[in-house]
């Protein structure tokens, strides 16, 4: 009898949870009549979060770049941030689409009558906010709290491992060779700090500034991290960069081919990205 009651209580709770009305990261009101059964994610970090919440089975499609976990690779791909395929998304009849605030895809999809939840994933804190928010709209709040606790534990382990390092090397992090870099308040900037590195970029320049090469040479970083192909060759061939300590001592860490995803996606695998940085800074 008690078991029946318990099952009944769970159903009761679920029935109470929906219909659900929440505000997304753009402050838009999103209403869900029932717990979503067909979900499309148009952002790799959201895909990873949904799967980490144990809801991978609900996904019917993802964006082109979502490649983790393995099981999402065989799902239909609906384009990327710059070339989304809204017709395909609509034809798959999702009852929930999770999209990025960049691009105006959500407006198109909303006009087509779909329910769209827009997420902003830029800072370190956004990771945990997004986990909780997605857990709520997927009706998995307990799993959400567990996931937050797990990510924080993993991050803490890496952080305390890095804290044993005696020195904080000066770090220059290049996301593309324009060159764009990362400010201390960005998601990657926070990881650099947690990995016990000292970002050479001042806070005032914002999250992702285009930096002057003169400034980089002047700051003489001890470690350079880059996340694009052929970065080592590119950096070494640059005028004046041969003088930089990181280049002279060969301390250039290039992360590509999947490893870059750990650093570019503010999602549940953030501790692995942190580990890459810590290993790079203190080897």
């Amino acid at each position: 009898m008690r078991r029946i009651l318990a099952v009944f209580a769970v159903f009761w709770a679920l029935a109470l949870a929906f219909p659900l009305t929440v505000k997304d990261d753009l402050g838009r009101t999103v209403s869900l009549k029932a717990s979503p059964k067909r979900v499309i994610t148009v952002l790799p970090s959201a895909t990873e979060t949904v799967c980490a919440l144990g809801a991978c089975g609900l996904l019917v499609a993802t964006d082109d770049y979502s490649d983790f976990p393995e099981e999402v690779k065989r799902l239909p791909k609906v384009g990327g941030l710059y070339n989304p395929n809204p017709e395909l998304i609509v034809s798959l009849k999702p009852d929930l689409v999770i999209a990025s605030k960049y691009g105006r895809l959500y407006e198109t999809l909303e006009r087509a009558g779909l329910t769209v939840y827009v997420v902003k994933t830029e800072t370190y804190e956004d990771i945990f906010r997004t986990v909780r928010a997605l857990a709520r709209i997927l009706g998995r709040e307990a799993a959400g709290e567990r996931l937050v606790a797990q990510i924080q534990k993993e991050v803490y382990l890496e952080e305390s491992r890095a804290a044993k390092a005696k020195i904080r090397p000066r770090v220059y992090y290049e996301i593309d060779p324009t060159p764009y870099t990362v400010g201390p308040d960005s998601f990657i900037g926070v990881l650099i700090q947690k990995a016990r590195g000292a970002n050479i970029i001042p806070r005032e320049l914002g999250l992702f500034p285009k930096i002057s090469p003169e400034f980089v040479v002047e700051k003489d970083p001890e470690v350079i991290v880059a996340t694009y192909p052929d970065a080592e060759k590119t950096l070494k061939s640059r005028p004046g960069f041969g003088r930089i300590r990181a280049v002279r001592e060969g301390r250039i860490c290039v992360f590509t081919g999947g490893q870059d995803s750990l650093l570019s996606r503010p999602g549940p695998r953030v501790a692995q990205g942190l580990r890459l940085l810590a290993d790079c800074f203190h080897k």
């Binding site: 285009k210 002057s212 003169e214 640059r238």
Partner: protein, 341 residues
């Protein structure tokens, strides 16, 4: 049409003024940057008395490269304006800058495997000469296509329209090729807006080589003067007109290709500079060509100085600065022109 021959003293004065302008721009460009270096130290480094890699390996080649790119663009712009007897002709509007960009990008795709650096790709830094040559072919091809679509140079509006169409199509193709690596969209924009940040000594050397190769263009001012009088008149002067026209296009295309291979596509320098200098030295192309070279050199050095320092130590794309400076000035010119008509 009566050609006003400028008096030589006036030309000499203008030239001296322009040289001074370039010199001042170079001094400012070398003296000011993202990193503060005291003027005394700058002087010592330049005299070889002390050492500062920021100055000798980054700022100096960047400033000199900017001067050469600006000069090359303005010189080719002046040549186009004379050749097509059209004040709106410039490397941008004739589609040739876009053609050069496509040639350079194709080179990167075929030889380097398209990877994110584009203007900054190892292909360009290691083999700037061959990248310039495919850029040259692209520029010549684009000008040819523009002329073909416009049915020659006779109808000015057709020429501009054809140039804009060719330029857009080529830019579209370039963007398409670069977007194959869609994660690097920002680098695509950096290239299409121009970037002098990584012009080093190899780049300066390549620019010098191509400028020397195009040097005969400066001697073709007389041909452009004859063209100003109309093709009929020019023909009666006994000039091998078609061959000379092709030669001018080839030299201008080479200059554009060299600039685009080193610094991406920088707009407005080739359009504005000859315009401005026409007021100073007159319509005589024997003087307008060298004056445009100097004026363009100074202009781009100053524009890049603003791009480097307005938000330092962050940077703006230099094309944004030239467009913001050049656009309103061009509007002013058009407004003046209308006022006189």
């Amino acid at each position: 049409m009566i050609l006003v021959r400028p008096r030589l003293p006036r030309y000499g004065l203008a030239l001296a003024g322009l040289l001074l302008f370039v010199l001042l721009a170079l001094i400012l460009g070398v003296g000011v940057g993202a990193v503060y270096i005291p003027p005394g130290e700058v002087l010592q480094v330049l005299l070889g008395l002390s050492e500062n890699p920021v100055l000798t390996e980054l700022r100096l080649p960047r400033v000199l490269g900017g001067a050469l790119v600006g000069g090359a663009l303005a010189l080719s712009g002046a040549a186009f304006q004379g050749l097509f007897r059209n004040p709106l002709a410039d490397p941008y509007l004739m589609g040739s800058a876009s053609g050069a960009a496509l040639g350079v990008t194709l080179y990167a795709v075929l030889v380097g495997g398209l990877s994110p650096g584009f203007a900054q790709h190892a292909v360009f830094t290691h083999l700037p000469l061959s990248a310039t040559l495919t850029g040259f072919l692209g520029a010549v091809f684009a000008v040819g296509l523009t002329l073909l679509l416009a049915g020659g140079t006779a109808r000015i509006h057709d020429l501009i329209l054809a140039g804009v169409v060719v330029g857009s199509v080529f830019t579209g193709l370039t963007t398409y090729l670069m977007m194959q690596d869609a994660d690097r969209v920002r680098a695509v924009f950096a290239y299409t807006l121009g970037n002098l940040a990584f012009v080093g000594w190899p780049g300066v050397k390549a620019l010098v080589v191509f400028l020397l190769l195009s040097f005969p263009l400066l001697l073709l001012g007389r041909v452009l003067n004859a063209l100003l009088l109309g093709e009929e008149v020019a023909r009666t002067l006994g000039l091998p007109l078609e061959a000379l026209k092709l030669l001018i296009i080839a030299f201008a295309a080479l200059l554009i290709a060299a600039s685009v291979a080193q610094a991406g596509v920088i707009g407005f320098v080739g359009l504005i500079t000859p315009h401005l200098l026409r007021r100073l030295v007159g319509e005589d192309y024997r003087f307008l060509l060298p004056a445009s070279f100097l004026g363009g050199a100074g202009f781009l050095v100053l524009a890049d100085l603003l791009a480097r320092t307005l938000t330092r130590p962050a940077e703006l794309p230099v094309g944004v600065v030239t467009t913001l400076l050049g656009g309103p000035f061009f509007l002013y010119l058009m407004w003046r022109r209308r006022g006189r008509a």
